[in-house]
């Protein structure tokens, strides 16, 4: 934990975050850091919007939390901060009281994301 900003040092990058990490690492020295930052924010907002399409079936909602973590909450006001998709699903299981399984028939019967998903990252 950094004493100045309260952020955890993340030694392990989840595989779903690797492409952004790799792109940032491979960026030429003179490249615009703002452009990379913007791309990262757009990617996170897109992920939040898509994930919420699934989470709403379980009464859960996800928000981006300061561009570094995600804030997961249920309708009862319980919440958890998660780092990435690797830690999202176990946290969602704790809040929902059951495993979120993409193969479960109730979900398979649905058509997720039929409507264009708008960015729902209203949290900070």
């Amino acid at each position: 934990m950094c004493v100045l900003c309260g952020q955890d040092f993340v030694a392990q990058v989840h595989w779903t975050d690797r492409h952004l990490e790799d792109r940032a690492r491979e960026a030429a020295p003179g490249s615009d850091p703002v452009a990379l930052q913007g791309e990262r924010r757009r990617d996170r907002a897109h992920r939040v919007a898509l994930t919420n399409e699934i989470l709403r079936h379980y009464g859960l909602k996800l928000d981006d939390w300061g561009g570094s973590k995600y804030f997961l909450r249920d309708g009862k006001g319980r919440s958890e901060l998660v780092q990435d998709l690797g830690s999202l699903w176990p946290a969602a299981e704790r809040l929902a009281g059951r495993t979120l399984d993409p193969l479960e028939p109730a979900l398979v019967g649905e058509t997720l994301g039929e409507e264009p998903a708008f960015v729902a990252a209203e949290g900070g």
Binding site: L50, E53, D101, P102, T111
Partner: protein, 339 residues
């Protein structure tokens, strides 16, 4: 990157007890081109391996809190690889071309992959380029019938080496090859009689390795069983973020039953994304700049235990609004006999 060079390739050699791993390694390591290859073995078998970079590791697995078997860290392997890295960086051994890790016959290869991908130091210096699985042409069927570890080893393979073909019945070999193709249609299958095989071919990544394009299984369908494989494509480009959400969710819920995911995914960029996973462990996905061949369509293989192909296809169909494309099965769906 490590000091201006790319990561050191690690090849995992696995296979059931007595399937000829050590014989094969003994032959291959005697070739001059393999002199800068380090070898980590669990046990010094009866067939002595003679190689100057041979190290013995005692299997010590650390089960992470609440973790499953495939997400264990092999402490012994971390120590051995760090020692090799140290020697290599200090110039005390010739520059390492490759590390070969030979597993025990009963080992599940997933923890070895997990160890290298998850360790904060190793992940920057080593990469797993190939999982080689040896299958004995005489007893292979028996091992696959009786030992779930054997099926996992075949599912995890990028290349399968069928050994002892010199003493097996040709019909039995053909039947075994067909069964192996049904379990793992993405693996490249080689035959090695008397442990004889070409080291260059064995370790060459063209047409195999983690970037290989999976093909649909075109053999005869087998009776229904526990392990199913399905090859599929999509009718358009897939949203990579959505696919990551779906796959991470699937692996959390059913990871121990998803023995293998391998393929190239069209994500609407100039090249595909290489997806390769063994149970919960996913290789760092690589976004290629261009397609390795003319066909620019997604191709992905799932090998799963206790999950029917139609369940996977149904789930992807339900997610098509998020993914941006519908799944289409490639070839006939296959199921692999468990007995």
């Amino acid at each position: 990157m490590a000091g201006g060079r790319s990561t050191r390739p690690v090849t995992i050699v696995t296979g059931f007890l007595g399937s000829g791993k050590t014989t094969l390694l003994g032959r291959v390591l005697s070739e001059p081109s393999m002199s800068n290859t380090a070898v980590l073995v669990n046990e010094f078998g009866e067939v002595g391996l003679d190689h100057h970079l041979l190290r013995r590791v005692d299997e010590r697995a650390v089960l992470l809190g609440g973790g499953c078997v495939c997400c264990t860290t092999r402490e012994d392997l971390v120590e051995a690889l760090l020692e090799l890295l140290d020697l290599d960086q200090r110039g005390e051994i010739p520059r390492l071309d490759r590390v070969v890790v030979e597993t025990t016959g009963l080992a599940d290869p997933a923890p070895i992959l997990h160890t290298i991908f998850a360790d904060p130091v190793l992940q920057h210096h080593f990469s797993v380029d190939l999982v080689l699985t040896t299958v004995d042409a005489i007893n292979g069927d028996l091992h696959l019938d009786r030992n779930p570890e054997s099926v996992k080893q075949v599912a995890a393979a990028d290349k399968i080496v069928v050994t002892k073909t010199d003493v097996a019945e040709p019909n039995a070999v053909r039947s075994l090859l067909c069964r192996l193709g049904a379990i793992n249609p993405s693996a490249h299958v080689l035959e090695a009689a008397f442990g004889e095989t070409d080291a260059a071919e064995l370790f060459r990544l063209d047409g195999a390795g983690y970037r290989a394009v999976p093909k649909a299984f075109d053999g005869e369908p087998h009776d229904a069983g526990e392990t199913h494989s399905v090859s599929l494509t999509f009718d358009g480009s897939v949203d990579w973020t959505a696919f990551g959400i779906w796959l991470s969710m699937l692996l959390y819920a059913r990871g121990e039953d998803v023995l293998r995911v391998k393929g190239l995914l069209d994500v609407g960029e100039s090249g595909p994304v290489v997806v390769n996973g063994v149970q919960h462990t996913i290789h760092p996905p690589e976004h290629l700049n261009r397609w390795p061949e003319e066909n620019h369509h997604s191709r992905i293989v799932f090998i799963a235990r206790g999950i029917r192909p139609e369940e996977l296809l149904g789930s992807l169909e339900a997610f098509h609004g998020l993914l941006g494309a519908r799944p289409l099965p490639l070839g006939a769906e296959q199921s692999v006999p468990s007995s």
